[in-house]
């Protein structure tokens, strides 16, 4: 099985483990791009999704925005922004954020909107303000679904952040793009393995996050 052979020779080659093109450096760069993009996307998607979901209005507008954002081709956007604005972090961040906002936004909206009405009415009945209802009654119940939206956004970002390498930045995509042009399949396969491993780790982190953050009662009911 030559793919497995590529993987072993990539990871046992000492040259891949140090320096500016070493695995630790590229992993950290990839992690940095991914976290920045996820943070930006969450900063946009979470508040908008929470508030619209709480009032149950604007669903059609949100769906429209999400559909439009999904329709924009990530790779095309990258090349287009490089042509317009030149190289840098901007051409990478915009496509990644555009990619990650729709799942976060739509899931958060649906999660908050579909929370069972009776506890929400009870919260309103005991005199909670709208903000407290949202944060203390709806958010905890909606949290598992919201985390699910963040998780699929995170996995898409980790996998897609490889495009940064196409415009001369670092990250794990370096191995894939360099390997493509150098006809070095070992590098390509090694880079892909690292990205897949990082995505799996992301899954694991979100699973753990769900264990810690979701209240035991909600978890049992789900």
């Amino acid at each position: 099985m030559n793919v497995l052979h590529f993987i072993t020779s990539f990871f046992t080659d000492g040259a891949h483990w140090s320096g500016y093109d070493g695995i630790p450096t590229r992993l950290l760069e990839h992690l940095q791009y991914s976290l920045e993009a996820l943070g930006l996307a969450a900063l946009i998607g979470l508040p908008v999704g929470l508030v619209t979901g709480h009032y149950g209005k604007g669903g059609n507008t949100l769906t429209l925005i999400a559909t439009a954002a999904r329709a924009l081709p990530t790779f095309g956007l990258l090349v287009l922004i490089v042509i317009i604005a030149g190289f840098g972090m901007l051409p990478v961040m915009i496509p990644l954020v555009v990619l990650a906002v729709p799942p976060i936004l739509v899931t958060t909206y649906e999660a908050v909107r579909s929370v069972d009405r009776s506890p929400v009415d009870a919260a309103r009945g005991i005199g909670m303000s709208e903000t407290r209802i949202l944060l203390q009654a709806e958010l905890p119940v909606a949290l598992p679904l919201i985390l699910g939206g963040l998780r699929s956004a995170a996995i898409q970002i980790v996998s897609t952040a490889t495009i940064a390498a196409y415009v001369g930045l670092g990250g794990l995509g370096r191995y894939i793009v360099d390997g493509l042009y150098q006809h070095d399949y070992e590098k390509v396969v090694g880079g892909a393995t690292l990205v897949a491993a990082m995505a799996l780790t992301t899954l694991g982190i979100f699973w753990a996050l769900g264990r810690v953050a979701v209240s035991p009662g909600v978890r049992r009911a789900g």
């Binding site: 793919v3 669903g59 059609n60 769906t63 559909t67 439009a68 999904r70 329709a71 924009l72 081709p73 990530t74 790779f75 095309g76 956007l77 090349v79 287009l80 042509i83 317009i84 739509v106 899931t107 649906e110 999660a111 909107r113 579909s114 679904l145 996995i155 980790v158 996998s159 897609t160 490889t162 196409y166 995509g173 894939i176 793009v177 390997g179 493509l180 399949y185 390509v188 396969v189 880079g191 892909a192 990205v195 897949a196 990082m198 995505a199 799996l200 899954l203």
Partner: protein, 226 residues
């Protein structure tokens, strides 16, 4: 603007040709993915323990960057459309399998019992009762899969002009013609929106018993919460 549709001859297609090519490279994988996902999802519905590991496998496959997937496949299938379409097929599974499983599982127990009481066998019950009721959830999955497939075809440009409309991105760079990149992005986005709207229409046609207004955007999560 007058050079917007003036496609360089090295792409060997005019604009309409690229659009057709793009649709073929994006939609065949979704069709293939659906044909694969239906039996896989049915297995997951039958054997509950199988569902979580299947989800993990589809997620890991989905996490493999498309470019790396293409490059590895070149060894087997060469620099062809097939090399682009195989990964796209695999990627659709991560959306389609859960959509179908959740959709089929959301069919109420009474409905199934009624079908059995009317003498429906398992196959007939699946085709005439479970699938139609799961249609909104399945179409919701198909919409996400199709739109992302249309977007991903462009990456095929990197393995030697197999990216249909994405190939315009390469020509935009080497010929210094930004309008070609605009053309690529705008046409791809327009295709995605059009096909998405078409799928909504298909759902309305397939499920005449459901309201076609704002309720049409109901997602599978909500459908299963009911």
């Amino acid at each position: 603007m007058n050079r917007f549709f003036d496609i360089p001859s090295d792409l060997q297609h005019d604009w309409i040709g690229l659009v057709g090519l793009h649709l073929r490279e994006a939609l065949l994988p979704v069709l293939g993915g659906l044909l694969l996902a239906l039996p896989i999802a049915q297995l997951c519905v039958r054997l509950r323990w199988l569902y979580p590991p299947v989800l993990w496998v589809t997620t890991v496959l989905y996490a493999i960057p498309s470019l790396a997937f293409f490059v590895v496949l070149i060894d087997y299938t060469g620099q062809t459309e097939l090399t682009v379409m195989i990964p796209l097929t695999v990627y659709t599974l991560v959306v389609l399998v859960p959509a179908i499983v959740d959709g089929v599982r959301s069919v109420p127990q009474e409905t199934l019992a009624a079908a059995t009481a009317m003498g429906f066998g398992p196959v007939r019950r699946y085709v005439q009762v479970q699938l139609p009721i799961a249609t909104p959830a399945i179409v919701a999955g198909l919409r996400v899969a199709t739109v992302s497939s249309i977007s991903l075809v462009s990456v095929g440009m990197l393995i030697g002009n197999q990216g249909a409309l994405g190939n315009l991105l390469h020509d935009a760079q080497i010929y210094n013609r930004p309008e070609l990149a605009w053309n690529s992005v705008l046409t791809t986005a327009a295709l995605a929106v059009l096909v998405d709207a078409l799928l909504v229409g298909v759902r309305v046609l397939l499920t005449p018993w459901m309201p076609s207004g704002s309720g049409a955007t109901r997602t599978r999560k909500e459908a299963t919460a009911r």
